[in-house]
């Protein structure tokens, strides 16, 4: 489904993108993600396709706001039955609850349900409305951080089984990784869209790379066969747009900065010498700062640190493999 919307207030934005399977729209807070979602639901004045000009009650969308907005005075099944008209409402509502795996909680009030269960009641209520698309606002925010990934995975599976195209807006990269289609939004406009693996590995611009968690973003000048960063020449395959002399940005993920092992043959290129300024545990990995002619964030898996036993202050070599260096056009900030 093609979406093209123009909104003036409360945030000015124009967005043109595709919704395809489980689509995640990633963007920082304040860029207008929620506004765009509400505009699609008809709750914010906007012009565009699809559904432009229709009041909310006539748009075939299932809208799940960030707080889910379950009716607090109704039980789960009464919530689901709310959009249903005609006879047999209870039996039909129970069937929807069964589809989301919550039939045994049908008689509970929202206050008695967990975040994930509330989310599925809200989903069942939206499905009962018989929507063409589902709109999810920050679906990770209502979830307990400890079980977030699992609950989210189940929700996404459920939505895929229902086969309804879905647009989920979020600032959470965890959700973006589960998408069939990823759209990245900047202030007031769409920056990039595509399959998530493509967007993740090849962000087209600095803002996208920042949003996707590239820790090292360095201004560079294109040189024959590579780039110059702060006087260091790094070899990397140049895309057709990159002409020598042009300014650009290089993005390097911290986990893709590789520490050279002295007991192995040295790699052929892009070796930097320097000092490990700091190193501290982060979950099961170790995050540190390398200071050579370039300053880099590094992230070591624990098996690597177990073998190397690195300490802050010690000298070391790192290698930046050409295919882990991602080049993007753009002037320095």
């Amino acid at each position: 489904m093609e979406v093209h919307y123009r909104i003036r207030r409360p945030v000015a934005l124009e967005a043109r993108f595709r919704i395809q399977g489980f689509t995640v729209l990633l963007g920082e807070s304040g860029v207008g993600k929620t506004t765009l979602l509400k505009a699609l639901a008809g709750l914010v004045p906007a012009e565009g396709r699809p559904y432009g000009g229709l009041p909310p009650e006539r748009r075939p969308v299932g809208y799940l706001p960030q707080d889910l907005a379950l009716f607090p005075h109704m039980t789960a099944w009464e919530n689901v039955a709310f959009p249903l008209a005609g006879g047999n409402r209870k039996a039909r509502a129970l069937a929807f609850l069964e589809r989301v795996g919550l039939e045994e909680h049908a008689h509970k009030r929202p206050s008695q349900l967990s975040g994930g269960q509330k989310q599925r009641v809200a989903l069942a209520r939206a499905l009962a409305r018989n929507p063409e698309i589902l709109l999810l606002d920050e679906p990770t925010s209502a979830l307990d951080p400890l079980t977030k990934d699992q609950v989210l995975g189940e929700l996404v599976d459920l939505i895929r089984r229902e086969g309804i195209p879905t647009l989920a807006v979020s600032h959470d990269p965890t959700l973006a990784r589960m998408a069939d289609w990823l759209v990245v939004m900047g202030p007031g406009r769409i920056l990039q869209e595509g399959p998530p693996e493509e967007v993740y590995s090849a962000p087209k611009q600095l803002l996208v790379a920042r949003l996707l968690g590239y820790e090292n973003l360095l201004p560079a000048r294109v040189a024959p066969g590579g780039v110059e960063i702060q006087g260091v020449h790094l070899r990397l395959p140049l895309p057709p747009w990159a002409q020598p002399g042009e300014m650009a940005w290089v993005g390097i993920r911290a986990e893709e900065v590789i520490v050279v092992r002295q007991d192995r043959p040295p790699p052929p290129e892009n070796i930097l010498e320097g000092v490990l300024v700091s190193l501290h545990p982060e979950g099961l990995a170790y995050r540190g700062v390398f200071q050579g002619s370039i300053r880099l964030q590094i992230l070591l898996p624990r098996h690597v640190q177990a073998r190397l036993n690195l300490r802050p202050g010690q000298r070391l070599q790192v290698v930046l493999k050409p295919h882990y260096l991602h080049l993007m056009p753009g002037e320095a900030d």
């Binding site: 509400k38 709750l43 009650e57 299932g62 809208y63 706001p65 607090p72 005075h73 959009p83 206050s111």
Partner: protein, 225 residues
């Protein structure tokens, strides 16, 4: 013992208060909804005008209403009805006098309503009437009812406004607060004490009901989070 004129005056007060509360419910609820959710130029001024009876001396309000409803007033010219010194005039004055109480309570009830619930309800493709019946009223009725009861109690105890608009015609416009005043003027303190006790208990009962309703309203709010 309390004499028949007391019961006549009390009955009149109850009738006026009940009618005024009913009118307030019908007019105040849509008005409060409008004030809670719409913004327009001059809204602050309009809200101030509705709140004016709260601070105006009741005799000043009563005086203006008397001029408005009187034989030479615009109401008579507009409708041909003469409402000064009548039951209708008392109700009219009571509605204006208690409007700030009812309006404030209704508006609070609507503002406490989670806007997301209304938005989601609209996206679920149901008619507006169903949203009112199944979502708005079930969540706001404690607030609406407590506001109406407050207005009822307030009307029951009014003095200055009804004296100006209704005078003190026994059996016709003599409300219980005015009857009490007349008793004291006539130095009949024992009867005045008995009448006061009845009014005290009545007002206390209404206020207890209001507090219970407010607690009920809060119970829903705590489950929306």
């Amino acid at each position: 013992m309390l004499e028949p004129p007391f019961w006549t005056a009390l009955t009149l007060s109850l009738e006026v208060a009940l009618t005024a509360s009913f009118v307030l419910l019908l007019t105040g609820v849509p008005l409060a909804w409008w004030l809670a959710f719409r913004s327009f130029p001059g809204k602050a001024l309009l809200e101030a005008i509705f709140l004016l009876p709260l601070v105006l001396p009741p005799t000043v309000l009563g005086f203006y209403i008397l001029l408005f409803l009187g034989p030479e007033g615009p109401w008579r010219k507009l409708t041909g009805l003469s409402w000064a010194f009548s039951f209708e005039g008392l109700v009219f004055a009571s509605v204006l006098f208690s409007l700030p109480f009812a309006l404030t309570a209704y508006r609070e009830a609507f503002l406490a309503l989670d806007r997301n619930l209304l938005e989601v309800a609209r996206t679920l493709g149901v008619p507006r009437g169903k949203i009112w019946l199944k979502v708005v009223l079930p969540l706001t009725w404690p607030g609406l009812l407590s506001g109406t009861l407050l207005a009822f109690a307030h009307t029951l105890g009014e003095f200055g406004v009804v004296l100006m608009v209704g005078g003190s015609i026994p059996g016709k416009t003599q409300m219980v607060s005015i009857y009490l005043y007349d008793l004291v003027q006539a130095l009949r303190f024992r009867e005045a004490a008995e009448a006061s006790a009845v009014l005290l208990l009545l007002s206390l009962g209404v206020l207890v009901a209001v507090r219970l309703l407010e607690a009920r309203g809060r119970a829903w709010k705590s489950t929306t989070g």
